[in-house]
Amino acid sequence: MSARRRKVLVVDDSQLIHKMYELALRAYQRCELESHFASDGYEGLAQLSRHPDIGLIMLDVNMPTMSGLEFLTRVKAEPALQEIPVVLQSTEDSEDDIRRGLEAGAWGYLTKPYTPQRLHALLDEIID
């Protein structure tokens, strides 16, 4: 991610998590982040076509319609999108999902519950 103002797409079926991200991303100091949200994989793909300049995807593994892994596979199969780093988020007991996600090309993962500090540290790593 290199543009001054960066767009982050949060794909999660919980509206509550959307709001938590909004708070945490707004509190990030190193650059201005613009958050976009999707409630499932289909909406996620739609958001990506609307905002081709999205620079980071935070992806929930556990979603009702189009699972996180399927969404990830589709993103990685699309030449225009495959370079976007995807960070999986899941609970600590979903090791299988995380392993499969990393194999499918995820940049990394974040297990819930996490603090904004951990999210910010991860953002520091991705954004330089």
């Binding site: 079926d13 938590m20 708070l23 509190a27 819930k112």
Partner: protein
């Protein structure tokens, strides 16, 4: 907790409640599902719990996180599920949410995000005291109000222009007519906009009945488990809209009826089998819209009510049954029970009589039909919406009455000699028919004579017409409909009360009953 997250607590509670409702429904559905559906329901349930666990964790609510985790584990373990145990966990989760809710409403008194989600009256089992409105619905309403402000300003301008005209100027007449018509245009526009706003605001009050069905399903499950009966719960018409203000009374009435259906309606499984019926009884709630009413039927396929037996019991208890239309009406008499002693079900909560009174207070009714050996159906009838009605205000002997506009066909001046007497009843010729008159003063006993002149307000309900006689017509107003205190006696034909702008309480008439009331009889007077 992540800083700033306190503001999301109300949000979390709402979200968690909805998820827990879905978990509960899935659990209650399980016994009725095929293997494929069952697998679906279980994975859906696990997903809800998983999300709940994650969200609770993010909120720093370790207890809830652990509880959701344990439930998820129980389901993931497979094998025979202990549904009773899981439902108890649902209850425990909800009770913790209630605790948080109280905490949230104390922490942000009248505050922002949490206030709507966690109002002080939201701490009970279920509350219908608030409405959630999406911004997409709210914003156009605000736009409409903005529009009204503009029109109002235009109107003030025109009025001012009209007032500042020089009456001696030669073009005074033309100019004042101009100003006057501008005011009228603005007024028409205000009325139109108000109509739209009223319609949309009323629509906000409507809630699908399905919000009540989850609780009912749970009642059927718990009561059947407690009484060692087997009961299936079927619903139809959950999308039927009902005014939010009526949800509470509907919830209480339906809870009572559904509980009754399991406890008093359904037979024991062994008895059902002996009778050649399926072992599992069925309690069905079916809702639909009928005209301006919502009809909700609660039926069971149990033993029905034995009228002879009921009559015998009623007689032995000294309840007079001769005056009742049907012996089943004694079920609505206060304090009446066919049981020798109060059991868990009949000893709890309010009786049918109280339920019926509460329903009647909202302009509804409960009716019963029963077939011995085949089951009983209670029909709960409620008006689709309450609260605000357009009414024609009329006076008779200085008393003001509100006649709901939906029933008014037209009103006519009645001069001396316009009314006649046929079969001792006052009649009035109206559109080639003789309309039976009902003098409001006579009916409400402010006058022992029917007035010979005044106004006739023609009302019509279900094809039946009647002419109400009054002294004056004040005009059409919006009235806020309030129930009547059941303790205060009132003559038939009163549907409710309202308070006028000057604080005077007045009666709202009930046209449905008024078209049935026995008219003025010269002999009786």
């Amino acid at each position: 907790m992540m800083e700033g997250l306190e503001a999301l607590l109300g949000e979390f509670i709402l979200d968690a409640r909805e998820r827990m409702d879905r978990v509960e429904q899935n659990l209650l559905d399980l016994p009725t599902l095929s293997d494929v559906e069952r697998a679906d329901a279980l994975s859906g349930t696990k997903r809800e719990l998983h999300t709940l666990k994650g969200n609770a964790g993010m909120m720093g609510l370790a207890d809830l996180q652990a509880l959701a985790h344990r439930m998820e584990d129980d389901i993931a373990a497979g094998g025979e599920l202990d549904i009773g145990n899981l439902l108890a966990a649902v209850d425990a989760f909800r009770s913790q949410l209630r605790g948080l809710d109280e905490q949230a409403s104390v922490e942000t008194p009248g505050g922002d995000t949490t206030a709507d989600a966690a109002g002080p009256d939201d701490t009970g089992e279920q509350s219908f005291a608030s409405v959630r409105v999406p911004f997409a619905v709210l914003d156009p309403l605000i736009d409409l109000i903005g529009e009204m402000v503009i029109v109002r300003n235009r109107m003030s301008d025109s009025v001012e222009r009209g007032c500042s005209l020089d009456p001696t100027a030669t073009d005074f007449a033309a100019r004042s007519a101009e100003a006057w018509s501008a005011v009228q245009l603005a007024q028409d526009s205000l009325n139109d906009t108000l109509d739209v706003i009223r319609e949309r605001v009323m629509a906000l009050r409507m809630t699908p009945l399905s919000v009540l069905l989850g609780t009912l399903r749970r009642i059927v499950h718990d009561e059947a488990a407690g009484a060692q009966k087997r009961a299936a719960f079927e619903t139809d018409g959950g999308d039927t809209p009902l005014d939010k203000a009526l949800l509470e009374v509907a919830n209480e009435a339906l809870g009572h009826l559904v509980r009754n259906a399991v406890i008093h309606g359904l037979e024991d499984p062994s008895k059902r089998v002996a009778l050649g019926k399926p072992e599992t009884g069925t309690v069905r709630v079916r809702a639909s819209t009928k005209g301006d009413e919502v009809w909700i039927e609660v039926s069971d396929d149990g033993g029905g009510i034995d009228r002879d037996e009921l009559y015998r019991v009623a007689r032995s208890r000294g309840v007079v049954t001769d005056q009742l239309q049907d012996v089943t009406e004694v079920l609505f008499e206060s304090g009446f029970t066919t049981r020798e002693r109060a059991d868990m079900g009949s000893g709890r909560g309010v009786g049918l009589s109280a339920v019926r009174k509460a329903v009647q207070r909202q302009g509804g009714e409960i009716e019963i039909t029963t077939a011995l050996g085949r089951g009983t159906t209670f029909l709960l009838r409620l008006p689709i919406s309450v609260s605000i009605a357009r009414a024609l205000l009329v006076t008779a002997d200085d008393e003001v009455y509100a006649v709901p506009l939906t029933a008014v066909v037209e009103s006519r001046r009645m001069r001396l000699g316009d009314s006649h007497t046929v079969n001792q009843a006052g009649v009035f010729r109206w559109r080639d028919e003789l309309l039976t008159l009902l003098d409001l003063g006579w009916h409400f006993q402010t006058n022992c004579e029917a007035r010979p002149e005044g106004y006739v307000i023609v009302i019509e309900v279900g094809g039946k017409r009647r002419g109400l006689v009054a002294d004056h017509i004040l005009g059409v107003r919006e009235v806020v409909v309030k129930g009547l205190d059941p303790i205060v006696g009132h003559p038939p034909g009163v549907g409710g009360s309202t308070v006028l702008g000057d604080g005077r309480p007045i009666l709202i008439l009930d046209p449905k009953r008024l078209v049935e009331v026995k008219p003025f009889s010269r002999e009786a007077a």
